[in-house]
Symmetry: C2
Subunit: 256 residues, 2 copies
Amino acid sequence: MELTRKNEALIRTLHTRHGRKKSGLCICEGVRAVDELMLRRPELVRFSVATAEALAALQERRTVSGEVCIVPEAKLNELAGTVTPQGILTVAEVPAEPSVTEKPADPFILALDRLGDPGNFGTIVRSVCAVGLTELWYTKGSIDPYGDKAIRSALGAQFALKLRSFPDLAALRDCAVSLGYDRFCVTDPHDGENCFTAENLYERSVIVIGGEANGATMLPNCRHVMIPMPGDYESLNAAQAATIFLFDYVRLNFRA
Amino acid sequence: MELTRKNEALIRTLHTRHGRKKSGLCICEGVRAVDELMLRRPELVRFSVATAEALAALQERRTVSGEVCIVPEAKLNELAGTVTPQGILTVAEVPAEPSVTEKPADPFILALDRLGDPGNFGTIVRSVCAVGLTELWYTKGSIDPYGDKAIRSALGAQFALKLRSFPDLAALRDCAVSLGYDRFCVTDPHDGENCFTAENLYERSVIVIGGEANGATMLPNCRHVMIPMPGDYESLNAAQAATIFLFDYVRLNFRA
């Protein structure tokens, strides 16, 4: 397939949040992320642009979904969102969110409130997948989970999850309660129950991780949970905090 | 103090590993990282270059060590290693390593083998500080812990630690044994004891985290330890793995 001017123009618009919103499409870059997309959600793939070399690398891993335009490396670099492009980019539909009445399969829900850094987001998505959860919730004002940086950083792992977005943390809590998740726990860097001794932390609960700049919104009537930090140091980043909770859940529930 | 041509030239050389090695100096950028440097190791500071605004922000936090050249923002941007410079950079001596006979104060040692990513390194340094350890060991071929990216990513937290470098993991183990750390545990993504049930993991031990590309060197006669991952997902990054070990140590040793 040939790369048309129209598709070139489309790819350029997808590096912006506005362009993604307008078209309902996103860009997935790099062999590993595209591999993950084609494994988890092949039906979302529209088309790819790749160097012959990167396409061969992908074909070694997986049957390629959709048509592929082979282009010289210089052309691909021109279209890619990164200074070190990885040879392939795929245009895909942004996955639809689950309906508000669809019950999650997970024992608890990890929720991100006002998370701003795509690198932290990507790390969290990978941890959520690693522990075997199927959903990740977030409030708007957080990063765009299908932005190109977020997809690169997560290596496409968001395509393995169901993501749900909410206008704010109060709306997120309302939805959680309606689906039977009625313990609402907010991580607080300064005060609260010790996360390692708090009871029933991962049972029909929501665990909220706050963003880098302002932390989590403080709603009334929620449990405050703190990661103990014996060292003389200010705070952990959001991705570290999320990983600590997720793997403490693993420790409690998966005994070898 | 005025910014001389000689100091300008010096700053430029310090963005390279070669330049840092030749002079024994490094660059610390951004108010938060410089604040940490001046808190922990004020005696290492040579001089700073800052906008008037960033200097004022730093002075609100701390008595400034060393002389400061005030420059316009454009000049600072030209000297800085990042596309979004944060108003101040400080030239400092690279801290000397502890002598090979100096006994660490920590119950166990975290060691990094062939870690390549300065972002992961910075995250690990911050976690090590957060849990209250005082040392971090690494093998050469890993990143330069005093490179400008590593310092930005750690927000200067490496100045709060004693770092020790080794030509390879075998040399690191020899030193550990000579200092009384004789349990040698290597993290292995595929096989080994469950890290959450392994015994005496944090008692006079070394826990080795492998790099992104090749993992840790496999030495004979060491314990293999694995982080259980119930999800269907390839692997965690090195910083997540390190954080999981460090906070499991906290869970076991600091009961509120």
